[in-house]
Symmetry: C2
């Protein structure tokens, strides 16, 4: 069963471009890993958001996600993201309503 | 331009069914509002998650979203959700990568 990564990030005003540059490099890496389906980066339009960005991504399995983030390359790509506190979870979809 | 609501919820262990019941009622309301496109409820499989559930929904516009959540009916449906601290944002998609 596929898994959905949802990762909200706190990004201070003025640091948005720095964050997106780091995200682009990490996303490029993830897109090359086995099990990758898609990823989308969302930027808040709400004023003064708790989380200025939220990444949502789907992978074929939790095992493939964990393998992807366990490499030295991923650790190096994401080390500078320590400036941006995150609250990631792996999820299953439990409800869907289409309009 | 459409907007993506992302709403992470803190739900204490043992309260999952209560939360889903409230979410179902609110989602049924939202699905009847102008501009509704889709909604998905995600449940964390990560142990001890900060956010046990995350709702993601798309609406045609921020104005239609704000109109939908401004009604007395919505206020009554969601009042019991005060037990579940949330960190909602309205978002734009700024990056998409498809595998």
């Amino acid at each position: 069963m596929s898994v959905i990564l949802i990762n909200p990030f706190e990004v201070a005003p003025g640091r948005e471009a720095d964050f997106i540059q780091l995200w682009d490099a990490a996303a490029d890496y993830m897109a090359r890993q086995p099990g990758f389906r898609w990823t989308r980066l969302h930027q808040a339009v709400t004023p003064n958001p708790k989380f200025a960005f939220v990444n949502v991504a789907e992978m074929d399995s939790a095992e493939q996600f964990l393998a992807a983030i366990s490499s030295e390359e991923f650790a190096q790509l994401t080390a500078p993201m320590k400036d941006f506190p995150a609250a990631p979870t792996l999820n299953q979809v439990v409800r869907t309503i289409d309009g």
